[in-house]
Amino acid sequence: MEIAFYLAAAVAVISTMMSVTNPNPVHALLYLIVSLLAVAMVFFSIGAPFAGILEIIVYAGAIMVLFVFVVMMLNLGRATIEQEKRWLRWQAWIGPSALSLVLLFELVRVLHPIGGDKHMVGYGTIGAREVGMALFGPYLLAVELASMLLLAALVAAFHLGRHED
């Protein structure tokens, strides 16, 4: 499964990069979906199949579709792509990429200490059963609160998205 992991990781990184830099909203979204599917693959490979399935169903399936809907509604076409291309000139890249690179460098430096001992992941599988047991056991309150969070999102989105003139 190591190969699957590294392959999926490569796909995830590349497609994310494409998604972040693509001027076309629809293309970017599709790349993002690919990236999410690749991350789902990563989840499978490190022994978290339930998370992988949720990633596909909810993230790629539901949330991204929401984005696609909005892109459709706003009817972002050629003009947007041209505009994005104009905004993505090389000067605009300097600061953001420098900052992100420094952050990445720091994270790698912290996470990959020279000579530090390695911990392995993916020996065992934590399936839906274990997750479910935990979710409706000690984390019961978190589930209830998550429902409240969704309710808040519902009310806020309902109010903010309304047409009223």
Partner: protein, 105 residues
């Protein structure tokens, strides 16, 4: 999936770090609010991956629970954010964040 594989935790975490940084890059780079929201999803996803990988190291379900909670947040934030995008497009006739910067000083 049968769990015979052994991937160093550090590699998984570094992958999540890369995704996280890419998300940050997107937020810093893009002026279009829609892309900014997408980049936020990428960042969230990176953090979620880190949780799942960490949970996998300890053989605990907690990592995936956190993943589920993050998923909830991502959905909630996306819905509110997109509703706001629609409203902003209506009022400002653009999705350019720089255009929506009337308050300063």
């Amino acid at each position: 999936m049968n769990g015979v594989s052994a991937i160093p935790l550090e590699h998984a975490l570094i992958l999540s770090g890369i995704l996280f940084s890419l998300g940050l890059l997107g937020i810093l780079l893009r002026r279009n609010i829609l892309f900014v929201l997408m980049s936020i999803e990428v960042m969230m996803n990176g953090a979620a991956l880190a949780f799942v990988a960490a949970g996998s190291r300890w053989g605990a379900a907690d990592g995936q629970i956190m993943f589920i909670l993050i998923l909830t947040l991502a959905a909630a934030e996306a819905s509110v954010g997109l509703a706001l995008v629609l409203q902003i497009y209506r009022r400002f006739n653009t999705l350019d964040t720089d255009a929506a910067s009337e308050m300063k000083g």
